[in-house]
């Protein structure tokens, strides 16, 4: 399972970077979305996947019995998802405004500030 997920993460990163290298700003933002998902999934995979063992402490015990899933990565991912949501919402508005102002969605036409 973990090696399969590792491949999925790798493919997601590759797809994200491929999309970001395209010329259209819409594809750029799609690339950013995939990238944030790839990073989230990476956290999930590297911190160890434990199935069917919720981190619950039985009544009367001080610590969970046996091996349980680590809840912290899930908290990290949840935080990262919320942040990525906000940032990407901004990015979507930005490309819309940029399209209105510049009149094209081609990144190669947006070189005025580079030289």
């Amino acid at each position: 399972m973990e090696s399969l997920m590792a491949y999925v993460v790798g493919i997601l990163f590759a797809a994200a970077i491929y999309m970001m290298l395209r010329r259209s700003i819409v594809k750029l933002v799609i690339g950013l979305m995939i990238l944030s998902n790839a990073a989230n999934l990476l956290i999930f995979v590297v911190s160890g996947m434990t199935r069917g063992a919720p981190p619950l402490i039985p009544e009367g015990a001080d610590a969970p019995l046996g091996t349980v899933a680590d809840p912290l990565p899930q908290a990290l991912i949840l935080t990262a998802i919320v942040i990525a949501f906000g940032v990407l919402a901004f990015a979507v508005v930005l490309i819309r405004r940029a399209y209105e102002v510049v009149g094209t969605d081609d990144l190669d036409q947006m070189k005025d500030t580079d030289t």
């Binding site: 990073a39 956290i43 990565p73 901004f90 930005l94 490309i95 500030t113």
Partner: protein
């Protein structure tokens, strides 16, 4: 309890929330901006005072013992950075009173400025690596919005590059945090440092350290990852440019200093050699880029890149003296660079352009302004007795002592080329006659008086005074940097301060 530890975050956060509440009344927002940055500066000085007196200040959120809680930690480096944030925040708040167009003010300029300051202060104070990511995002989101306020074509184009590369860097940062957590099973920086030292396979840690280097390198605008900076920093209105130029890249530099002195010291030979060459190339490409530019703010933007090289050089040499030099350099650079951008804004106000070919004759009509430009400009180039001289002197001396002659040679050459760029601006903007195609000279000749002139000049004079102060009081500032460097070079002090407190 140390309230001064959280005040630098709480003050701008509260001020930002209040500014949103006062959305319709720009007048109160303006008063609040100045008031809260004055409070921020006061709190930051209090914090610096406490860290110098008591050493590390640690606060555990929710009273959970570290490493389970999120901790806020202030050492002298953090406190110095917070003081600089306070100084720059106040200067920008006053300058904004005059320079910000009223349309921007109505669309939330001041709340965003407060949020940005809160994000910067949070990044400097947190002792938890994931929390650092969160503060980075707070800061970034505020900076995205500030960068695009106004919505002109250049801003949009600059913002797309800025947003994309910064989000890319955040994704790498997040992946690196995930991998680090998977390897050592903790997020508290002191705890990570402790566990990394005992790890059997340091190879994996070196790989992770490279991810951090790339991520923070993008944020700090180090070679070869700096392209977003000169493409975007000259596009927003000038107070925003100045705020970004002073603080944002330095957060990346601070993060590099933090992780590469505390956590990733297991393979210094490898990691810090890469940093060393990155620093050398950053200095060189930055300054050569500046030499090819003929727009006031673009020249200054490229100089940010080249100056970042000096700071990373201090870290990369990794000797006590070099770290002292790096910290000194950060202190000097933040003040000087902000000041130069503020001066460029005043010149824009007078002549209506940033292009060197459309500027000229400022010295004839405004000699005081020319002097105010000359102080930070010569300081940037490293002319004694200004602050830049001592900063460069310490870094270069450390380079010679570490026998890194090539890199030190580059640093000296870059100093010379910096002087060239500053002289270019000086002769084009201040000395040359006003070009004949410039028609509206009424502001330059003082025929039209601005009502808010004091708000333009007060921050510039104040920051120039800070530069002179650092230059004239090299010794005490050096001692402060020395204390900061001592803490950075002995990470066990940091670890003991954070984790030792938990065992009481």
């Amino acid at each position: 309890m140390n309230p001064e530890l959280t005040l630098p975050i709480l003050i701008p956060l509260l001020a930002g929330a209040l500014s949103v509440a006062l959305w319709r009344s720009v007048r109160y927002q303006r008063i609040l901006a100045v008031l809260s940055t004055v409070l921020l500066l006061a709190a930051s000085v209090w914090l610096l005072n406490s860290t110098v007196d008591q050493g590390f200040l640690v606060m555990e959120m929710g009273s959970w013992p570290a490493p389970f809680s999120i901790v806020f930690v202030a050492d002298i480096l953090s406190a110095i950075m917070i003081v600089l944030t306070g100084i720059i925040g106040l200067a920008i708040a006053i300058y904004s009173l005059a320079s910000t167009p009223s349309g921007h003010e109505k669309f939330g300029y001041f709340p965003l400025m407060h949020l940005l300051l809160a994000g910067v202060a949070g990044s400097f104070l947190t002792g938890d690596i994931f929390n650092l990511f969160v503060w980075f995002e707070v800061m970034l989101l505020a900076s995205f919005a500030l960068l695009t306020l106004g919505g002109e074509r250049a801003q949009m184009e600059g913002a797309i590059k800025y947003v994309t590369l910064n989000l890319f860097s955040s994704a790498i940062f997040l992946s690196a945090v995930g991998l680090l957590y998977g390897t050592v099973g903790t997020l508290n920086m002191a705890d990570i440092a402790q566990k990394v030292a005992t790890l059997e396979d340091p190879g994996m840690i070196t790989v992770i350290s490279m991810l951090f280097m790339v991520s923070f390198g993008i944020k700090a605008a180090a070679f070869p990852l700096f392209f977003w900076l000169p493409a975007s920093y000259h596009t927003p209105q000038v107070a925003v440019s100045a705020l970004f130029a002073g603080l944002l890249t330095k957060v990346g530099v601070y993060a590099l200093y933090r992780v590469f002195t505390l956590i990733f010291t297991q393979d210094v030979e490898y990691t810090h050699t890469i940093l060393l060459w990155a620093a050398a190339l950053t200095m060189l490409t930055g300054v050569l880029g500046a030499a090819a530019q003929f727009e006031f703010r673009r020249i200054l933007s490229f100089h940010i890149v080249s100056q970042i090289g000096y700071m990373i050089l201090g870290l990369a040499l990794f000797t006590p003296l070099a770290i002292i030099g790096g910290v000194f350099y950060i202190m000097h650079h933040i003040i000087v660079k902000t000041n130069l951008f503020l001066v460029s804004g005043i010149v824009y106000r007078l002549l209506g352009s940033y292009e060197l070919k459309d500027l000229g004759g400022v010295y004839k009509h405004k000699p005081v302004l020319a002097l105010l430009f000359l102080i930070p400009a010569l300081s940037l180039a490293g002319i004694p007795p200004l602050s830049g001289f001592f900063a460069k002197f310490v870094v270069i001396r450390a380079g010679l002592e570490a026998e890194a002659y090539v890199v030190t040679g580059i640093a000296l050459l870059v100093g010379l080329l910096t002087l060239y760029s500053m002289i270019k601006i000086w002769s084009e903007v201040f000395w040359k006659k006003t070009p004949e195609h410039v028609e509206d000279l009424s502001r330059l000749k003082g025929e039209v008086k601005d009502t808010h002139n004091w708000a333009y000049y007060l921050p510039v004079v104040g920051l120039a005074a800070c530069t002179l102060f650092i230059g004239m009081n090299g010794q005490p500032i050096y001692e402060l940097a020395e204390m900061a460097a001592e803490q950075l070079m002995n990470p066990e002090l940091y670890i003991k301060a954070v984790l030792g407190g938990a065992q009481q």
